[in-house]
Assembly symmetry: C2
Amino acid sequence: MKKLTVELKDRSYPIIIKDGALNEVKALLDEHLGTGRRHFVITNKTIAKIYKNFLDGFKNVVTIDDGEEFKNFKTFEFIIGELLKAKIERGDCIIAFGGGVVGDMAGFAAASVLRGVDYVQIPTTLLSQVDSSVGGKTGFNHPLGKNLIGAFKQPKLVIIDPKTLDTLDKRQIKTGLGEVLKYAFIEKTATDKDFRMFDYLKSLQKKATGNLYENLKSHWQEIIYMSVSMKAAVVSKDECEKGLRAILNFGHTFGHAVEKITDYKKYTHGEAVAAGMVMAFRAALKRKLIDDTYFREAVNLISSYELILDDMKNFDKEKMFEAMKSDKKVSHAKIKLVLPFKPLEVQLFDDTEELLIKDSLL
Amino acid sequence: MKKLTVELKDRSYPIIIKDGALNEVKALLDEHLGTGRRHFVITNKTIAKIYKNFLDGFKNVVTIDDGEEFKNFKTFEFIIGELLKAKIERGDCIIAFGGGVVGDMAGFAAASVLRGVDYVQIPTTLLSQVDSSVGGKTGFNHPLGKNLIGAFKQPKLVIIDPKTLDTLDKRQIKTGLGEVLKYAFIEKTATDKDFRMFDYLKSLQKKATGNLYENLKSHWQEIIYMSVSMKAAVVSKDECEKGLRAILNFGHTFGHAVEKITDYKKYTHGEAVAAGMVMAFRAALKRKLIDDTYFREAVNLISSYELILDDMKNFDKEKMFEAMKSDKKVSHAKIKLVLPFKPLEVQLFDDTEELLIKDSLL
């Protein structure tokens, strides 16, 4: 078991990472949130089938459809309606049980029903375990873009059971692996602690006899711990994305554009972010922010995790650039890019030339 | 001109009360929010007609329908869509220009679009000037109840121009007067300062030759200042309604029930709250929390402001009680009532017997 805390003064909260934690959820809730509170679980149909026994232990369960396309106004309205019909009160507690969509929707429902009730994250996918369940970003999509409606609402507790990853297929693991790799590349900017995540991921890849993804299974607790520690460190310093938190978007401005021009279907989020990181490394190299040695080491690591696909090339320069300009982190129509400038250090740059950006695309 | 501050550490903000302040809005925005920010005004169709010239000074104006029935999911979705279509960015600023519905909807839009942008309240009704524009309660209604979806989101600035009240009819003034009287009855619990608002309101009533409501016109700045000062004092001590802030609901648990069983149409909010306060005084008298002298003085003041109507009697006891139980401040199904226990002091009681509650109804 690993435990850490997101330090945010009166909004601080613990993250518990433990194989088999799912069997101890009730005890953990009582320990960390106090006894006698009603729990309202929000989950999706797929999860509800896999974890029927677990969910049978809860009286109030709201089940939404499974998929990013349901992360919208309609589902939000549905969740709120179900909570209100079940007469949720301000002292009750919402539990987000599922992947990122469930966590983001449940978190925003918790932020806004009765103007705010407590909530707990129990993420069941790699992406939500290493990224969205920590840091309080909640919300949903709008036809005009992703995550355009939401709130910063920190959970009271995050319970991560890496054993839940055993039910995921390779594509679902890939979805989260992009973020895992990202943490390795921002380590020295994110934290003073010395995780040496880059070396760790490299060694895992090298040691893998046969199937890398099979090999990862026995390392999830450690991988998640390192990832979440870095996210927690960054969020503690910049809760509402006014500065430092931007580094968590390393690879994402390019990556989001890749997702957008391929209708969010062709590649997993992890593959898109991986491609985005390669593009960011290319931009950094062209800008002479990093040397060729680090560039090759970095791109090799990303490639070795099987996240760069053969058809990731010749992206339409104009479409990509347009998509990048519509990203919500754009300020005064300037594209800001998180770029590496030293090994394992990144920084936000707002002065990358349009031509250089286009030349950095795969 | 009167100026005060809602003290909330890094979320503190000034409230400016000034006859004619509307003519200085641009300068006030620049002074308090900095120059060079884009402003997105949210208003309603009625206000848009009255203040056409003022609104012509803004490039981005979102106009919603006028009325409580539009304080819903659909309007929220509309506002968000308009803001996104106009490419609102995180550094931009929303301006709520109108009454409580506009303020609550615009505030929640500001809380949730792009996970939060700054906003300014410019309330144009008495109710919003003395109540909803200050304190950061934002949100909208659900078919199951009022204000069930929302957020605590403090504005960056509140600009109150009492001259805007000149366009209101008597019914619209009445809507806000219930809150004004409320402040008089909670003064000593709300603040250490000595406004003597009860005496002030009593003297205004007595001095009124002919029409009380005409007479009030020359006293709005003072009345609003006293009201808002008390609200600001309470909000500073309890931003998210965990304790003290409940006193602002004096008269409201009964009052909301009156509104609910009359479909929110028969009486103005001020009349319902006034009736609610009379019921609260009756409950306090029955519980021997206050003596008969204060009871009569209090009820006389409320009556003298023409807020208790002849048909406010024989409310259906069961319906009222049911409505009170469904109020969102109920905790563990217990009805909590803010009751006076000394002149100008109130407190939350959760131990009022059902029978006594029913006997206190008008």
